[in-house]
Subunit: 308 residues, 4 copies
């Protein structure tokens, strides 16, 4: 039954599955790998799954454009929560293989720039060939096609391999951010450390339109955390913007920003308010707290009533 199923970007044994398994509720769900982000999300749209976990951003590769574009178009979806997974590869080998035996290595193309320096230092002679996924690379090692595969350490058991080296990552703090996406629903209650996501289409392409949009945030003291431009498909030079800001739709400074955006943009797609994976509480200026908003609207009511 659909309410008990979560889809995710497969195949099994990839980082997406590992990220999904960090969610407590994953233990009680049927987890179904899908061949692509659109397939994972379409299962949600079609009601065959309650939610889908898909990557949205990688600190080395950048935004996952398929996910961004899927969220920006088609039947509306909503982000329920996010998961941050540090990027750390293991070099998986068949049992008994020593580092000096490794002449050929494989992995997903995205893995390559993240282990390049490590390879150059530790296995300068090794030849790299790309696989369709990290898990697929592990399978190819199992089959003897390559000597080693870069994949998550958790994938070793599935393919009868051994993690020869672990925690490989060229960049410090490298991480992938995943989002759990479902059908539109009431946003989860605010936790005090929340994030709000939207997609924005500028009303007209006048110079300064983007500036105007950022000022909607700035004037209410709401920090923007990420902004990503994506083509609208209408030709070179036409973009929409995927934006995350700190705060929750029920925070009054955020709801006023959202209404402001709604007024000045041609279109706004609300993608949800959800807990920040880093659990960092935004520092809200005293004049932008809910208390300050309430005091100001009480004062306004008094002014309208002749008691200002």
């Amino acid at each position: 039954m659909s309410a008990s199923r979560y889809t995710y970007l497969g195949p099994e044994g990839t980082f997406t599955e590992a990220a999904l398994r960090t969610l407590p509720e994953a233990a009680t769900r049927e987890l179904t790998p899908m061949v692509s982000v659109p397939a994972a999300l379409d299962a949600v749209r079609g009601g065959e799954a309650a939610a889908a976990l898909v990557p949205i951003e990688n600190s080395v590769e950048g935004g996952v454009t398929t996910t961004l574009d899927e969220l920006a178009s088609g039947e509306p979806l909503m982000i329920y929560r996010e998961v941050l997974l540090p990027i750390a590869f293991a070099l998986l080998v068949r049992p008994g293989t020593a580092l000096t035996d490794v002449k050929t290595v494989t992995g997903h193309p995205v893995a390559q720039p993240q282990v390049r320096k490590w390879l150059a230092a530790q296995l300068p002679e090794a030849v790299w060939e790309s696989a369709a996924s990290n898990a697929d690379g592990a399978r190819l090692v199992q089959e003897g096609r390559y000597d080693g595969a870069f994949a998550g350490e958790f994938a070793a058991a599935t393919y009868g391999l051994t993690p020869l080296v672990t925690d490989i990552h060229d960049a410090q703090n490298a991480a992938t951010r995943f989002v759990l996406v479902g059908r539109p629903a009431r946003p989860a209650a605010p936790t005090g450390a929340d994030k709000t996501s939207v997609v924005l289409w500028l009303r007209e392409d006048h110079p300064g339109a983007l500036l105007e949009l950022l000022q909607e945030y700035a004037v209410r003291g709401v920090s923007m955390m990420r902004i990503e431009s994506r083509p609208t498909g209408e030709g070179i030079g036409r973009y929409c913007f995927s934006v995350d800001c700190e705060g929750h739709i029920t925070d009054r400074r955020v709801s006023e920003v959202l209404m402001g955006l709604k007024r000045v943009c041609q279109e706004v797609r609300f993608l949800g308010s959800y807990p920040r994976a880093d659990e960092v509480t935004a520092s809200v200026r005293p004049e932008m707290t809910d208390v300050a908003f309430t005091e100001a609207s009480d004062w306004l009511a008094r002014c309208m009533d002749g008691r200002g």
Copy 2:
């Protein structure tokens, strides 16, 4: 009885009285001249008058600081409406005086810069001495102390004088703006051509504080019509700001501006929303109309409800 009395900056026969008489309700009120702006306003504060008409701005001399400062301090007052009076002096003389007979002239010091060019052209030899008010100047002509007084044409009859020349004014479009001030009350209903006045004290004197304040207006598309800085009395370099903008407190763009100011300012004093004397309807950008605000808050409610 107080409800039937209006005070004004006297004495009788000045432009303030003329401005007051342009108000239809003046016909049914007892009009009492007062010796100063504070005296006129204190009568309102004390309940001895329903309202007071005082000058607030002159297109030649600038803001009337006494009025600005009285509105910014003490027991709160509110602007009920404004009156614009074109500045046009008459040269009042005793009956029988010809222009060539005029050797000495008088008038309020404020009148002098407004008739200086006319004097230089028409009566280059005439000697000017200041009087306590334009009306007082007329009295001094009546008494024979001077040959001519610059005053409103309407003052002639009161002092048994003749307007020898009328419509004298050096500057084109010169006008004085007066405000009818009463105790705080519900603002008059919006007319579509309204103005809203406040006094603002910046929270701290950080660089850019004034810019921040102006952005509260700009981001909601509300045009500022006048800004005047006044000392707070706390020392050189400390100012508050008297600001008029277009629109009415019940216009949603204006009420959001007011609440924004209330949050970011140390103090806001609401001075009223009232019809513009020039009856110019503000051109409101489509995204800032009440309809746009309502649509945006409906949309927000749908988002919060999972139906965005």
Copy 3:
């Protein structure tokens, strides 16, 4: 000879003279009191005086509009330096007068609000009448017309009076700011604690024009210290702005602001760069120092040269 003469707003014995005497060079100049600010400045314009000292701002009364308007119009003038004088009145009486003998007091109208609380507390029965200047008030006490005059303590000797009470001032930190004004010249060398003054006319009265102007300052990290609107004389609603900012015209951040204003304003009148009387050194953000400007233009030159 003119180079040796300084004019000032008279008469003798007023605070303006006291302010002028704080300047070291005053000792070697012929100091000539003039009847009005325009008269003092016209002597400079006409070459009869090298400079004139006039009040420009009072922390209780606000801007001295005659001075502001004179600097904004007519033959250009320039501010060479400023003087800050704390406001402190003495109650001058004829020798032998005791406080209990004082029934009538006088002084310049501007003095009244600055001693009102003191009067209410110490001489609640005393009757106030205004004099043409504080010095004139002292003369009237000398002649026996009033019992006491509020004036500068320094005026006592001139009129054979005794300072019965000194250091009277209702407001803490009350001060008057004076400017020494001369014909346009090379600005004095920067001291590190400087101020730059301009008068600005907006190109067109579009909403947001004032905001645009403030952004010229903000984007270069230059703090505005004072902004005062003045009517242009073209009718209600038309203003120019008198603005002081920190820094010197030769500071690159300030010169870029000035050029930016010159481009976006209808007119800019440069009124000078001169040492701040308070000697406070502006804290300049590291990215806005002359070093940062020089590095940026060196970098630009390298980019243009293909070595960026």
Copy 4:
């Protein structure tokens, strides 16, 4: 010899080669296809090629991240010019194949979303499999592996195929933008319709840092044409920005923007000023022309000299 060689993203027969052949100078160069964008650019960095043509943006797929990241890191490179190529696929088949015979199709993964609607309408039963490039897809059709390949019409001859249908593209105005990249050099002379590209790293991740950066453009009236965020590699939430604006580095408004960015950013990489492929002349506000800048600096010089 290197000066006569241009590299491009291969293989032969792709759109990149077609774009390169639109450049007049391509006729006199040796054109060498490379296996990847980094390989094409490294040939330039290493001096083996004078320039490389690589795709940078696609109106359907968005920014080409490899190109963006290569330009932002490593040995500096510069954009010499840009080429816009409308996206239009041909369905290439072996001679004699009819549309009804086409059961399997191939092409580069990027081609798929751009022909999806056409496929659904015309060949709803056809099975898609991805090829390494559009040209490679054509080769696979030649070899009989698939019935049809989506590629540029120009690729037909190379592989002995026939364009069965031409001008296939789901989106109107779909286009790919390519850049010709070389080693840093003096930018080409301005044409009046130019573009300037930079990569910007914010000094610190303070809220509003991006807004500050956009204001550097806005305050000088320079329109931003594209902004793309890219991860810096330092972890989730750390971005740099790839920005194109209208105008040439030698336009004074643009050079002042560049210097402003240099001051407020942690790092700025100048990527070049070059003619716009669309040949649209930017409309420059009168106050932002070179004439206006020159007049303002002349005025500043006069002010410094006491002749303002």
